[in-house]
């Protein structure tokens, strides 16, 4: 840590390697916007970062109550980081409920920025607090920065024509300005954002910008803090052009790109569901890319309309979350039976049933692999982070069209709403996979197979190719067949076709030594935490390796060999052991150790590191 002088101020400027901030307030306080703005500014500034939005499912739970608390945590760093951080260095609490819900997570001795204007008797009552935590010793041991943000923002906007209520709503930008000052962030990215966001309401641009600048200046003038900090831009990320990316946006773009690489029109049938709706919304705004979107009457109609689009020769796509997957199950079977390409995106959330719609879980894995009637194999791919979602979505499209099969692409709430820098791909490097439709009726048979085991795709409108297909078992010409041997043969062919996809999936690389006592095996959004946990353990002098799966069904080839070089394989998952079950079924001769957590929150690095050390030292 170096200390330098801030130009034009007496307060010292300290350099830090990384900072974890959590913004917490009422769900009407704009904490997600505040967090996203801080993220965007830090990304453009050149930090590596990772985010964890954590908000209630209720749009506006009763104001000031504990269930209504919305949080946004981010870690930004001058180093290559993998997680949003376990414990925040700084907690910004906009009201008593936000304080008590989040205080336990704050690092010992951490900094608390508290909006004291929201700690009146009634506020304490709403948060079910018997005494004022500002006065009762609750905050002993923390560095408390009390700011009456409610009052300061009204003062800053005293000349504004806005109503008092509207002025009060600018308090998140005052807070943001304060934090920008503390961490020496530039304001221009947020000012530009305000200009676009409130294009039609210039008075809101003015007021929010005033609030932002007032907060920034307050840091300087009022000497609220003992100094300013700076987290320099990172030099550790690979060279190239970056942008900040969230998982759902990356999937929406990947779908457009994938369809183009296949030479198909993307047709989305979807039904709004948390946390997948933003993919529908994004794709609906990509109409100039030739994207057709249909917001259907339910989840079943959504997948069925997508299947119809594929039948017509377009790329059918449907996007949903777990409960929607349950409803789509029967139609998935139809796409499997008729061997039509289809991309099914499941942004997982905590279940079962409605579960916890805005919380993270990885508990739809077995549903994805096995959850259908009959022997109904489907390839399953999982994104790990916002920055691999684009590429994996394209791969889902490739598999769907090359193998004439529905493909399930899994993501989760953490990836969907989390953000990180994305090294922009060179699109010229992505190999196209144009679809060749069958157009010659001569010798064409509807379910004749190529060397991959896939059937040819013929579409209505082609003269002389008229065929009938359906969900009944069929023979090679698509005609209904109850012949026992035919059913065995068709079932085998469908099974073999999906198994053969493994030949096109690269064996994942082991991070660390390729043999040893322990391999940590993960999939999905745990990638950052597992990477960090393994690094932590290695810093403590222990040897541990790590492997992460993106293609889960079929499993990539080469795993058996990798696994056989380790005494034990730890499988941390945010479910009750679903990948462990799959692995034990497929490769029973290895020592898989499940490590499970289903709190609706990601693993902490420390939790996983402790488990690893426990096994290695055990």
């Amino acid at each position: 840590m170096t200390t330098t002088e801030t130009p034009g101020a007496d307060l010292p400027l300290q350099q830090l390697e990384r900072v974890v901030i959590r913004f917490a307030g009422d769900s009407g306080d704009g904490m997600q916007i505040t967090g996203n703005q801080f993220t965007q500014t830090s990304a453009v500034f050149g930090n590596d970062l990772a985010t964890l939005p954590d908000f209630p499912a209720e749009i506006r739970a009763p104001a000031g109550t504990r269930p209504g608390v919305s949080g946004f945590q981010l870690q930004f760093s001058s180093k290559d980081i993998h997680t949003p951080g376990d414990a925040p260095d700084v907690l910004v609490a906009m009201n008593p409920a936000a304080l008590v819900v989040n205080l336990g997570a704050l690092k010992a001795g951490g900094t608390l920025v508290i909006n004291t204007g929201a700690f009146k008797a009634n506020d304490l009552k709403k948060a079910k607090l018997g005494s004022n935590p500002l006065e009762d010793g609750t905050l002993d041991g923390y560095r408390v920065i009390p700011v009456d943000i409610n009052a300061r923002v009204l003062e800053a906007l005293s000349d504004s024509a806005l109503s008092t209520k509207e002025k009060a709503r600018c308090k998140n930008f005052y807070t943001l300005g304060l934090m920008y000052w503390l961490y020496s962030r530039p304001l221009d990215s947020t000012v530009n954002w305000l200009k676009v966001k409130f294009k039609s309401r210039p008075e809101l641009i003015e007021a929010n910008e005033l609030a932002l600048r007032a907060g920034f200046n307050a840091g300087d003038i009022h000497e609220l803090f003992q100094g300013q900090y700076e987290v320099p831009k990172t030099e550790e990320l690979p060279a190239g052009t970056y942008r900040n990316m969230m998982g759902n946006d990356a999937i929406a773009m990947g779908l457009v790109a994938g369809a183009q690489l296949a030479g198909l029109q993307p047709v989305l049938g979807s039904y709004p569901i948390t946390p997948a709706s933003t993919i529908l919304e994004s794709l609906a705004s990509y109409k100039h890319h030739g994207v057709v979107t249909m917001q259907m009457e339910d989840e079943i109609a959504a997948i069925c309309s997508a299947i119809g689009a594929s039948f017509s020769g377009s790329l059918g796509i449907t996007t949903t979350s777990g409960p929607g997957m349950a409803l789509k199950t029967e139609a998935m079977g139809l796409a499997i039976s008729t061997e039509l390409p289809l991309v099914i995106v499941n942004i997982q959330r905590a279940g079962p049933s409605t579960g916890m719609p805005t919380k993270v879980e990885q508990s739809d894995l077995l549903q994805a692999i096995f959850g259908r009637n009959g022997d109904a194999p489907i390839p399953v791919i999982s994104c790990s982070r916002p920055s691999d979602a684009f590429e994996l979505t394209i791969d889902a499209v490739r598999i769907a069209v090359q193998y004439m099969t529905p493909v399930i692409l899994l993501s989760d709430n953490f990836i969907a709403n989390g953000a990180e820098p994305w090294l922009l791909p060179d699109l010229k490097d992505i190999k196209p996979f144009p679809v060749q439709f069958a157009e010659d009726p001569e010798n064409h048979r509807t379910f004749a197979r190529d060397e991959k085991g896939s059937r040819a795709w013929a579409k209505p409108g082609t003269p002389g190719m008229e065929f009938r297909i359906g969900g009944l078992e069929k023979d090679i010409d698509g005609n209904v067949s109850y012949d026992p041997e035919n059913h065995q043969a068709m079932t085998d062919q469908r099974h073999n076709k999906i198994a053969a996809i493994a030949q096109t999936i690269p064996t994942p690389a082991v991070d660390g030594p390729d043999s040893g006592d322990l391999l940590v095996l993960g999939w999905g959004s745990t990638v950052g935490i597992l990477t960090q946990a393994v690094e932590t353990v290695r810093e403590n002098g222990l040897s541990v390796s790590r492997l992460h799966l993106t293609h889960i069904w079929p499993l990539p080839k080469g795993l058996e060999e990798i696994f056989s070089n380790f005494k034990a394989i730890l499988v941390p998952e945010m479910n009750m052991g679903q990948l462990t079950r799959v692995l034990r079924g497929e490769m029973p001769h290895h020592n898989f150790i499940p490590h499970n957590k289903v709190t609706g929150q990601p693993f902490l690095t420390t939790e996983v590191a402790a488990k690893i050390e426990n096994i290695l030292k055990g």
Partner: protein, 334 residues
């Protein structure tokens, strides 16, 4: 249609090579024959025609048509057909469904395709019974229907398919009879010509589980007196002697002499008139209306969907993936 464009197709050209497996005497045979003939006579292009069905006896229909066909899952044909038509608006799409498929398990999708006005034709074969599952009552069976699943009689009130469609703001609603090839063909032609969703209920005999349920209305001996054909542009006249008529009244239509009969125009009649007429058969003494209940113009779903895409392209220029990926604030690390 390339080579065949100059060669007139016959009914046989629309017959697939599959053996028809409905029960002997099933009303579906007559509907199939009428459709195959209509296709040939109307100059339909088999390559651009798709029959889509759900599950049930009627839903085997696509296998027997030498066109494109998709036998899908129970109740979902309207949703699948919506995707087919939106992805390729040049196709002529026909949905074949039954009273259970369309009005029980698929009621939601039927309601929504009618609301959206996708340009497809829906043929609902109504035999007021579940045939494929061996004779349970259906959502169009009358109250008191005694079957294996309702040994003491069904207690739930039936849907009237015509009233249902009208209630969903359908733009074309008609009814015909399986064995009346002439009438059926006339209704097929009107449905085919209509832009938007055409809904056609076809009264259809299930000889095994609900034999002749409709005989009081459609038997040759009573049909002229017990049905009244709503023909666009013609007076509403019925009866073996063509001496009876109907005229508008507060409740829709009422019986009158042929001389006093009103002219029928499904494009100008109000929705409430059409609805009231659809309810006439509640009275067993009043003839059951067949023919075209409603035929009005409205915006077609898939056309608007594509118009929006075209408008967006015209406004913003054809999108490039690079522009999507390389948007927003970016920074470079050397």
């Amino acid at each position: 249609m390339s080579e065949t464009a100059t060669t007139k197709l016959t009914r046989k050209d629309f017959v697939s090579d599959q053996e028809v497996r409905w029960c002997p005497g099933c009303g579906d045979y007559a509907i199939l024959a009428s459709m195959q003939k209509y296709m040939a006579d109307s100059g339909a292009d088999p390559a651009k025609t798709v029959f889509v069905s759900g599950i049930g006896c009627s839903s085997r229909f696509p296998y027997y048509m030498n066109t494109y066909g998709f036998h899908t899952i129970h109740g979902r044909a309207p949703a699948i057909a919506t995707g087919i038509k939106v992805a390729n608006p040049d196709l002529s799409v026909w949905i074949v469904t039954g009273d259970g498929d369309a009005l029980s398990i698929g009621g939601n999708h039927l309601a929504h395709i009618l609301r959206r006005n996708v340009d497809v034709n829906i043929l609902l074969f109504n035999n007021e019974i579940y045939g494929l599952t061996k004779g349970q009552y259906s959502p169009t069976s009358p109250v008191g229907t005694v079957r294996k699943s309702t040994p003491m009689g069904s207690v739930d009130r039936p849907f009237n398919p015509i009233s249902f469609a009208l209630g969903c703001n359908a733009t074309f609603v008609a009814r015909s009879i399986d064995t009346d090839a002439k009438h059926l063909t006339k209704v097929f032609a009107a449905a085919d010509a209509h832009r938007g969703t055409s809904f056609v209920e076809i009264l259809q005999n299930c000889v095994i589980f609900n034999k002749d349920f409709y005989s009081k209305v459609v038997d040759r001996s009573v049909r002229a007196d017990m049905t009244v054909d709503l023909t666009p542009g013609e007076k509403i006249i019925y009866g073996a002697e063509e001496d009876k008529g109907m005229r508008f009244c507060a409740n829709g239509l009422e019986k009158c002499s042929a001389a006093d009969a009103d002219l029928w125009d499904p494009a100008t009649a109000t929705e409430s008139q059409a609805y009231a007429i659809s309810q006439l058969d509640q009275d067993p003494e009043t003839p059951k209306p067949i023919g075209v209940f409603r035929s009005v113009d409205a915006q077609v779903y898939e056309q608007q969907v594509h118009q929006q895409v075209e408008a967006a392209v015209a406004d913003k220029g054809p999108g490039k993936v690079e522009d999507l990926v390389c948007a927003g604030d970016r920074w470079t690390i050397d």
